[in-house]
């Protein structure tokens, strides 16, 4: 299962107002490591189904939200809880790294 795409206009509702923690994958179309981390993000989405929400933001198409959160290097994986950014990891990280970071906010 692939995660839903979120846009500049839906970010507030889908991420900031979410009842559960949200993992946001900031990616761009021709970014190699983004392609590498995408299946890891999808696995995480399945593993924590019901506990977290997982969404993706195409930074080329949604520059406002990417700039608002100071996205520079991509992929950047950001965790939001209660409308606040609580953590992030940058680059194509292994699944265990991402899972360990997430576990802190469940």
């Amino acid at each position: 299962m692939s995660s839903a795409q979120v846009t500049d206009s839906t970010f507030k509702h889908e991420v900031l107002e979410s009842e559960v923690p949200v993992l946001v994958d900031f990616w761009a179309p021709w970014c190699g490591p983004c392609r590498m981390v995408a299946p890891v993000v999808d696995e995480i989405s399945e593993q924590y189904e019901g506990q977290i929400k997982v969404v993706k933001v195409n930074t080329d198409e949604n520059p406002s939200v990417a700039s608002q959160y100071g996205i520079r290097s991509i992929p950047t994986l950001m965790i939001f809880k209660g409308g606040q950014r609580v953590d992030m990891v940058v680059g194509a990280v292994p699944k265990t790294t991402l899972a360990n970071t997430l576990e802190k906010y469940l």
Partner: protein, 120 residues
């Protein structure tokens, strides 16, 4: 669902220029392409697309407030300053041999690149 819109590929001309650059730069710096050719292909396509759109191969693994201004600043034009100074390529195009993701190739075919990037 991956993306709603299929990403636009670069021109064949720019892709060939960037493919040749990547091969010669890897050999010159003793670095290797990723063991997953999909990563290499996507990055070369991204560099070539930026060359088409902006006139310079701006790194496709960064988000910029203003791409035109970044091209003029040159820091993130490939090969970027971190690569030139410390062989750091966070795009994973040029990997030092000790990197666990490094493969044993310094060449990639034009058709291999398009076979990979046609998937998206």
């Amino acid at each position: 669902m991956t993306s709603l819109t299929k990403p636009t590929q670069a021109s064949d001309k720019s892709l060939e220029i960037m493919r040749n650059f990547a091969q010669s730069y890897a050999k010159r710096t003793g670095t290797y392409f990723c063991s997953d050719p999909g990563v290499t292909a996507v990055v070369i396509e991204g560099l070539a697309k930026h060359k088409d759109d902006l006139g310079a191969p701006l790194c496709p693994c960064r988000h910029y407030e203003d791409k035109e201004a970044e091209v003029k600043a040159t820091f993130w034009n490939c090969p970027c300053v971190p690569m030139q100074e410390r062989k750091e390529c966070h795009c994973m195009l040029f990997l030092t041999p000790d990197n666990p993701f490094a493969g044993d190739q310094q060449d990639i075919g034009f058709e291999t690149i398009r076979t990979e990037t046609n998937k998206y």
